[in-house]
């Protein structure tokens, strides 16, 4: 039941994004611009670019996550759509999973494009593809779950656009750290060193997903 409702919400959010093209027309170009700007800024030292590539990649994804999260809740503010979801009697946990799932899907698509850009622009070589992929999935799920949870906290507030980054960025610091370290190990040919970081990211994602499923319903009611 909860998965059916979650799939319904995720499908709705992704369909709206496909129509509105905010992810494609704004969030993706934003991420690419961030990567490009760093490439221009550090161009004289191509070795440095390769070394800092994991951190730059995840900074770009983190900023894109802020945009995607804000957008996921902005679509519920027009025409009382948030009340519509409440009236439909959907489970709060299902709404959380659906929204987080849609954000994660958009971020994974973005990471694929940004990752290609990093490899091409920064001259990065991927030695541990499995570590890179698992890191990306775990970190993305953690970011999406945390973003959705804090997104609903800020949703009912007048200053939500500026408040969301203030709330979210400190909480996502461990994800930034873990994902960057795991990527460094995966790219530099020492994937064995990355597993503790991948495990930490998976734990973070599981923890925030569980909290979200349990708490989102009450927060959703309060935000309205």
């Amino acid at each position: 039941m909860i998965w059916r409702e979650a799939a319904l919400v995720a499908g709705k959010d992704l369909r709206i994004e496909a129509r509105a093209r905010v992810a494609l027309g704004q969030i993706l170009p934003f991420g690419l611009i961030v990567i490009l700007l760093f490439a221009f800024a550090l161009d004289p030292d191509r070795g440095l670019l390769a070394r800092v590539a994991p951190g730059l990649f995840w900074v770009a994804v983190l900023l894109a996550n802020l945009l995607a999260t804000g957008r996921a809740f902005a679509i519920e503010t027009h025409h009382g759509a948030r009340d519509g979801l409440r009236l439909a009697g959907l489970d709060g946990g299902a709404i959380f999973l659906g929204k987080a799932g849609a954000i994660a899907a958009q971020l994974l698509g973005l990471e694929l494009v940004l990752g290609t850009g990093v490899v091409v622009l920064y001259g990065v070589e991927v030695h541990g593809a499995l570590v890179v992929v698992l890191t990306a999935v775990a970190a993305t799920v953690g970011m999406a779950a945390t973003g959705t949870l804090y997104g609903v906290l800020a949703a009912g507030l007048r200053l939500r656009e500026t408040l969301l980054p203030l709330l979210l960025l400190p909480v996502l610091a461990p994800v930034m750290l873990g994902a960057t370290r795991a990527f460094e190990d995966g790219l530099e040919g020492a994937p064995g060193d990355a597993w503790p970081w991948v495990a930490m990211l998976a734990l973070f994602a599981a923890l925030y997903t569980a909290i979200g499923v349990l708490a989102f319903g009450a927060l959703w009611e309060e935000a309205a």
Partner: protein, 240 residues
Amino acid sequence: MSQVVRLRSVVALLGRFPALAGLDLDVDAGEIVLVTGPNGAGKTTLLRLLAGLVPPYSGEASVRGYDLVTDRRRARVGTALVGHETYCYDDLTAEENIRFFARASGRDDAAAVRAVLGRVALDGAAGVPHRGLSAGQRRRLALAVALVREPELLLLDEPHAGLDATGREVVAEAVAAAPGEGRTVVMVSHELEVARPMATREVRVDGGRVVPSTVAPTDEPPVTPPAAPLATDAPQAVTP
């Protein structure tokens, strides 16, 4: 006769302001209740409370036997509200909006979606995004979203506002058919000449309470014979 709405001394707050101040109301199954009153009387808050969108601050409130505090989600499932907003998504078409809310209510029936589109005279605009619909079409879409969920309690907030003749016919048909479809209607309207003939009972709300009506009740019969015996035209008992 089963009771669909039971409110006892209900207080509901909008911010710190008591929009409902000790309101009592009973509505039986099959009734079509018209709620009247001046602006700021608490009529819209009453509907939002019955829809489970505004929690009661104090008092007893239940819809279809489900307490609006402890069992709000189950109370919502059989209730639909057509309010000032459409509750729809701009980037989804009329049909997609209806289908989404039908599925959200556990009714994944394409034929029902098409039927309700026809019922609100939107079959020609099924593929038009919400943002491309006129104000009147949006009101009809909101009604379609409510009807496709097959609610036992239909709440209508100013259902005639901004509607042309077609829209008014659609609303009249939906209200008239409600008792036969096992549906109870609570309707707020300022357009008394249109709404009164549809109602089986009129309730006047002022200052967040049900008060004795100062308007002579209509002698006109309802549009269709309701499933329930006609209730008295007199208003509900005034809260002591």
